[in-house]
């Protein structure tokens, strides 16, 4: 009986880990594949031309350091999203992305633009900052590898 209960909670934990993997990898890879390439392309073009619509948008909504914010968000949506997809550095990548997308939601609201897309990302990343990367992550794999090594 107790064994059956243990097995049940193990299956539940495994399902939860798989759910977190889908949420983590799905949301960060969608950022990385759908939005990051365009931002990286525009960032490189900005270095040559000095024109970037994202910087103009940041100026329009009154964000401080609009160029730095644009580059920071590009790093967030590429490198930090990749770290989150892999599940390294614990909650930090999710928290960083969560905070940046809360700012993006507020900026979009200020500019009277669509708040649903950045709002949904903020919700997902803040939830992931609460849960951590889960059991199916590079962090968990490294931890179990270290445990095995110390035995």
């Amino acid at each position: 009986m107790a064994e059956g209960r243990d097995r049940g909670s193990e299956v539940k934990a495994r399902a939860q880990d798989l759910g977190l993997l889908l949420l983590r990898a799905g949301s960060s890879l969608s950022l990385l594949l759908l939005f990051a390439p365009l931002k990286i392309h525009d960032a490189i073009a900005f270095l040559h031309t000095g024109a970037w619509r994202f910087v103009d948008f940041n100026r329009k909504v009154g964000l401080p350091l609009p160029v730095a914010v644009a580059f920071l968000q590009t790093v967030n949506e590429s490198l930090v999203a990749l770290l989150l997809a892999l599940g390294v550095f614990g909650r930090a990548p999710a928290a960083l992305l969560g905070v940046s997308f809360v700012a993006a939601t507020l900026a979009s609201a200020r500019a009277h633009e669509d708040v649903f897309a950045p709002g949904a990302y903020a919700l997902v990343f803040l939830s992931l900052a609460l849960t951590g990367p889960g059991g199916v992550s590079l962090d968990a794999a490294l931890a179990s590898w270290r445990r095995r090594g110390s035995r």
Binding site: A15, G19, L23, G26, F35, A120, S127, L130
Partner: protein, 118 residues
């Protein structure tokens, strides 16, 4: 109650808030799939999901609807970064809720606890 339970509650309620706001938009009101019986069914599924009722079923059904919307938009040649991308995001969120289940912060669990400790 664990952090994961709080996180799943945040996701479910966040989805309810987003769906309620979206349903109020004129574009949504104009869409046939949000009116009449299909609209009512979708609304009921969103409410069941937010309440955490019927386990994984509401999330799984809504994930299938979102994925269908994404594929339909992509097939029809819509700009993928607009509606299909949002539907894909929704299907990822809902699919993860369908996999992990609603957690322990649900209306059913609260009712069971209330019955146990009146």
């Amino acid at each position: 109650m664990s952090r994961a339970d709080v996180s799943f509650l945040v996701l479910r309620l966040g989805f309810l808030a987003a769906a309620s706001l979206l349903a109020g938009l004129p574009q949504a009101k104009a869409e046939a799939s949000f009116r009449g019986a299909p609209g009512l069914l979708l609304g009921a599924l969103v409410l069941l999901l937010a309440a955490g009722a019927l386990g994984r079923l509401p999330a799984a059904l809504l994930a299938a609807v979102a994925l269908g919307t994404c594929l339909q938009g992509a097939w029809a040649g819509e700009d993928f970064l607009e509606r299909p991308a949002r539907a894909l995001e929704g299907s990822i969120l809902l699919g993860s809720l369908a996999l992990s289940g609603p957690g322990r912060l649900t209306v059913g669990e609260a009712w069971r606890r209330f019955r146990r400790e009146p």
